[in-house]
Amino acid sequence: MGRSADRLSLVLLFTPFALWIGLLIVLPQLGIGYVSLREKVGVNEFTFGFGNYAAFFEEPIYRNTLLRTAWISILVTALALIMGFPVAYYIAKIAKERSRAGLFLMCLIPLWVSDLVRAYGWILLLRETGVISTTLVSLGIISGPVEMLYNDVTVIIGLVYTVILFMIVPLVSTLQGMDDALLEAGYNLGGSRLTVFRRIIVPYAMPGIVAGCIITFMLTAGSYLTPILLGGKNSSWFTEQIYTQFITRYNWEMGSTFGVLLLIFTSLVVWLGLRLTGQSLATTVAKE
């Protein structure tokens, strides 16, 4: 009786998870994979093959868009890490117990506003008739209004702003687990600030760094709103290509191919990143 009750509770607890994974993640992915292998030869006539994939590799603009997306995503991840680490370190180690929760909350507050609204916030600031441009003109620093939207720098700023929180949260939680005595021992045994940072703080924070980097990279590479709104037509973001194939061109086969390629390619980048830094998921993200 006890065992069947155990089994029942396991089934009940596991079912929502299995349904969610199965219906919303595995099944659509299988569908996308299936569609991506379909080639249209006439009205409602299809053959199967790797033609769509071949088309992707034959067309430089597709390849370049994917490479460009990956490259900017890596840059955004690196910037988020460089800017997020001091913030996380301050919150976890330097701030007083009382102000810690408040500071953490201040990092979270932007999340309460939707991506769309936040992107429009940047547009208000940066457009030709926006706050910054008009202020600079009225102060006489520049002679005429300047358009600051629709370039790569703006896209990168917007993306870093959107994803940095997902870097800070895992970093704060790993750094909070670090005993201050480790740092003091590091100094006591003769280490300079740089040595302590390089040999003690960074290795200790590695699980958080890896987790944060994977999350931010995946979020950035898969983001749509921010690059489109801030980068406009120039953004050449890969998700935009997928959107175009599905919605504008009504070419679901090609769109699915792009979707699969984006997943494979970003996974490959994460794997490569782990290999290059000598980390593995088991010793970092899955630790403890």
């Binding site: 480790l182 003091e184 021992a185 100094y187 006591n188 045994l189 003769g190 280490g191 300079s192 003690i200």
Partner: protein, 356 residues
């Protein structure tokens, strides 16, 4: 020459004085302990010596040179932390090599030095082990090896035995003492456990509320405490409160609140009529009747068996509970028996009553 000297070192945090005008001299090669209850300022003092805190006033000298201007990483004092603070992301060998690499030792010599120090602490060949694979006692020895490989002028130990279980703690006490002999380095040991301090140290400073109450050898502290705090904190003692009725040639006759009196040696400047406490060591009490003011009658409340350290818990007729050491050839005694204890007046120490 003294390896470590502190001169009137004071540390204030706002209005709170954590360490007040502390002076000490630790001769080369000594095992020096600072003994005090938690919150007495001993950790703050050690952190000032290591350089993690700056004294509000006073001077700290290592090998005769003031180190106040030196940051922690430039001072040749190494520290064994309370929870050891071994680096979990490095293996044993890397932990020990860390300090050598910070110092800029040649790569070729490091492995040899690491092997040698591991040998000296009795753990040869564990370089490749991860920290979490070690037992508590082994971690302790690695933490000491990590400091000793740098040949410090002074090794600071901040209650390193606190986290160990009792059996291992007893064992490590002896081992620490042996290691200190072997390395011939000055040890400054901080503890709240009086038995650790007494067993291991050449010199002990008893600290209370930011001040040193007394500095001396363990035997001096035990036999000739200078204050009620030291008498009560170092070793076991029965403490009997009372009021001085009469002082005659260095001996005070103390009246107990529920009647009866005790004669003891007056050890400070208390005068007739002052509230005092009489300290009697369990082993200074003998079973049997004694002269007036040198004995108390009562009944055996319970027997506390602890091998060679067994005690009788006796309730005196005047209400006090007294611990009495049972001598080796003790007569058979049972709970509820009537008993009388006596003592020599110079074994009963009379001090002014402590506040609180």
């Amino acid at each position: 020459m003294n390896d470590l000297s502190c001169e009137r070192v004071t540390k204030k945090f706002g209005h709170f004085t954590a360490v007040s005008e502390v002076s000490l001299d630790v001769p080369s090669g000594a095992f020096f302990s600072i003994l005090g209850p938690s919150g007495c300022g001993k950790t703050t003092l050690m952190r000032m010596i290591a350089g993690f805190e700056t004294p509000s006033s006073g001077d700290i000298r290592i090998k005769g040179e003031s180190v106040l201007g030196l940051p922690p990483n430039r001072r040749n004092v190494k520290m064994v932390f309370q929870h050891l603070a071994l680096f979990p992301m490095m293996n044993v060998g890397e932990n020990i090599a860390y300090g050598l690499r910070c110092r800029g030792d040649a790569r070729s010599g490091i492995a040899e030095k690491v092997a040698r120090v591991l040998d000296r602490v009795g753990l040869p060949g564990v370089e490749e082990k991860r920290i979490e694979q070690l037992s508590g006692g082994q971690k302790q020895r690695i933490a000491i090896a990590r400091c000793m490989v740098l040949e410090p002028d002074v090794l600071l130990l901040d209650e390193p035995l606190g986290a160990l279980d009792l059996k291992l703690r007893e064992h490590m006490k002896i081992e620490l003492k042996q290691l200190q002999h072997q390395f011939e380095t000055t040890f400054l040991y901080i503890t709240h456990d009086q038995s650790e301090a007494l067993v291991m140290s050449d010199q002990v400073a008893v600290m209370n509320a930011g001040r040193f109450e007394q500095i001396g050898s363990p035997r001096e502290l035990y036999d000739r405490p200078v204050s009620g705090f030291v008498a009560g904190f170092v070793g076991d003692a029965n403490c009997i409160p009372g009021k001085i009725a009469e002082i005659r040639s260095g001996e005070a006759r103390v009246e107990l609140p529920q009647g009866g009196e005790v004669i003891g040696k007056l050890c400070d400047g208390s005068r007739t009529g002052d509230d005092v406490e009489v300290f009697l060591r369990p082993e200074a009490l003998r079973l049997g009747a004694g002269g007036a003011g040198q004995s108390l009658e009562g009944t055996v409340d319970s027997l506390l068996f602890n091998g060679a350290n067994s005690r009788i818990l006796m309730r005196a007729g005047t209400g006090q509970l007294l611990e009495v050491a049972i001598p080796a050839e003790a007569p058979a005694i049972a709970e509820g028996d009537a008993a009388t204890v006596n003592w020599r007046p110079d074994h009963a120490l009379v001090f002014a009553r402590r506040a609180g």
